[in-house]
């Protein structure tokens, strides 16, 4: 049995009269990458926010590592701080902190932008700065809340590779919330689908790496996941 990083039992969260999360059981092992899929409004962001202590659970047991960080859909950089200042914000001041901040920026390919203002960055650069800010804290749990959703298609592919690469190097447990099935299969060790307040699927991705959308196993899993999400593809006949 591998050591756990996230332990959730019987989690319930109710908004008004609707149970958005209704008795969720979830485990994420250390260093494991879990992609959580779901249509809009199914509560996947709520689950992430509860794990990140940004929202409360109404019922159930939730256990997470003390060191955890979030990358949001938008970069959420402080406009009045330079990029390096944003990465090291809240950390103890000092030369070593600045150095680790610079290293983190170098890892995401932003070494030259350490002294830039956030408003001068492109969307992809700003999101990479947000990623550096999350990684510099050496989290044991990294929460990614649709971090690529606002990026253009090319930048998104590049960012996915970068995130996959960084996660393999730093080995935090990762929860990626997304509605992009291809993205989930490309990156994750395991995929789960949230629907009507429950996890209707939770399975290990058996596709060989590097994962190629042309791989039949990739296509089969993609079809199953889309069906779970309510998108039914016509069977291809050609």
């Amino acid at each position: 049995m591998s050591a756990p990083a996230v332990h959730v039992r019987g989690l319930r969260r109710v908004f008004g009269t609707r149970a958005v999360l209704d008795g969720i059981d979830l485990d994420i092992a250390r260093g494991e990458f879990l992609a959580l899929l779901g249509a809009s409004g199914t509560g996947k962001t709520t689950l992430l926010r509860i794990l990140g202590a940004l929202d409360r659970a109404d019922q159930g047991t939730v256990l997470v590592p003390p060191a955890r960080t979030v990358v949001f859909q938008e970069p959420r950089l402080i406009p009045s701080k330079r990029v390096l200042g944003n990465v090291t914000v809240g950390l103890p001041r000092g030369e070593t902190t600045r150095e680790t901040g610079r290293q983190a920026l170098a890892e995401v390919g932003l070494a030259d932008h350490a002294d830039a203002w956030p408003s001068t960055l492109s969307g992809g650069e700003a999101q990479r700065a947000a990623l550096a800010r999350a990684l510099v804290r050496e989290p044991r749990l990294l929460l990614l809340d649709e971090p690529f959703a606002a990026l253009d298609a090319l930048t998104r592919l590049r960012m996915q590779d970068l995130v996959g690469d960084l996660c393999r190097r730093h080995r935090p447990a990762v929860l990626l919330v997304t509605h992009d099935v291809d993205e989930a299969i490309r990156l994750a060790d395991r995929v789960a689908v949230l629907r009507d307040g429950a996890l209707v699927r939770d399975e290990t991705v058996a596709v060989d790496r590097p994962r190629d959308p042309a791989d039949p196993a990739f296509a089969a899993l993609r079809r199953d996941l889309l069906a779970d999400l309510g998108v039914h593809q016509a069977t291809e006949t050609h």
Partner: protein
């Protein structure tokens, strides 16, 4: 890694996992919130009553709350208070309408139009640094002891905070939104009306709040000098006869005017900005 390895909660805790503690504040019932708000003023009155009752505050320094209530009854009974209130409120309201109106228009011009800023801003900033109390003698010379002098003084005093807040708020308008509206063929005036002013409303209302406070201050300054009616006149009379109870009534009225102005702006905020999240709390996505 397999999914089926069941971990018990005890094992997870032993592995160093902790429960996330969300810092969300529970909604307080309306009544409790209101009670908490009135606690401060009530404590002040209680302290006042206590010091009067124990003799720390003698009547020649400040009348007790009971005497003040009696004075209110007396002034209300002979109609003095109602007359003074209506005169003073008219002056303050007229001055505020003129002053805040001018400040609003100038603020929009300098905040939204480059040329307006270049032409007007430095001139207004120079005028802004003149303390409005210094204008009292000049206005006396210009207008004599008339209503115009008083209303003009209040107008001058209230226009500047409105101007500063408005131009700042308008300058922070989302330029991308303006660009988008231009592409839909909106005229400049239409852009100001549909985008700029609604966007600047928070700044406008905080400017209005400052202006309302200043209008009361300017009202006192205008009425203390050569006035034959109004609350300031009532105060001058009370001062001559050492009536600390009437003085306290007048001071309390000025305080209540400020409180009412604040409440009015709060109501305006709710009415004018229905799109804003309630209690300043962001509506989070699910």
């Amino acid at each position: 890694m397999t999914v089926t390895t069941a971990v018990t909660t005890e094992q997870a805790q032993a592995a160093g996992l902790v429960a996330p503690r969300a810092r969300t504040t529970a909604d307080r019932p309306r009544g409790v919130s209101l009670a908490l708000r009135t606690l401060g003023p009530l404590a002040l009155v209680a302290a006042w009553q206590l010091s009067s009752a124990t003799g720390v505050l003698t009547p020649d320094v400040l009348a007790s709350p009971g005497q003040v209530v009696q004075a209110v009854g007396e002034l209300w009974g002979n109609g003095q208070l109602a007359d003074a209130l209506s005169t003073s409120l008219t002056r303050a309201a007229l001055g505020l309408v003129f002053g805040a109106g001018v400040g609003l228009v100038l603020g929009v011009i300098t905040g939204f139009f480059r040329l307006g800023e270049e032409l007007l801003d430095s001139a207004v900033q120079v005028l802004r640094t003149v303390p409005f109390l210094a204008l009292v003698p000049l206005f006396m010379v210009w207008f004599g002891i008339t209503e115009t002098a008083k209303v003009a003084l209040i107008g001058v005093a209230t226009s500047f905070p409105m101007y500063v807040s408005t131009s700042g708020g308008v300058r922070n308008t989302d330029r991308k939104l303006v660009e988008a509206m231009r592409s839909f063929g909106l005229s400049r005036w239409a852009v100001v009306r549909e985008v700029v002013l609604p966007g600047a409303l928070p700044a406008l209302l905080s400017g209005l709040r400052l202006s309302m406070t200043l209008s009361v201050i300017a009202l006192i300054a205008a009425e203390e000098i050569n006035s034959t009616e109004g609350i300031g006149y009532l105060m001058a009379q009370a001062q001559n006869f050492s009536r600390t109870d009437v003085l306290a009534v007048c001071i309390l009225i000025y305080g209540l005017l400020g409180l009412a102005a604040d409440g009015a702006v709060r109501v305006l905020e709710r009415l004018l900005m229905p799109w804003r999240p309630v209690n300043g709390r962001a509506v989070v996505g699910r």
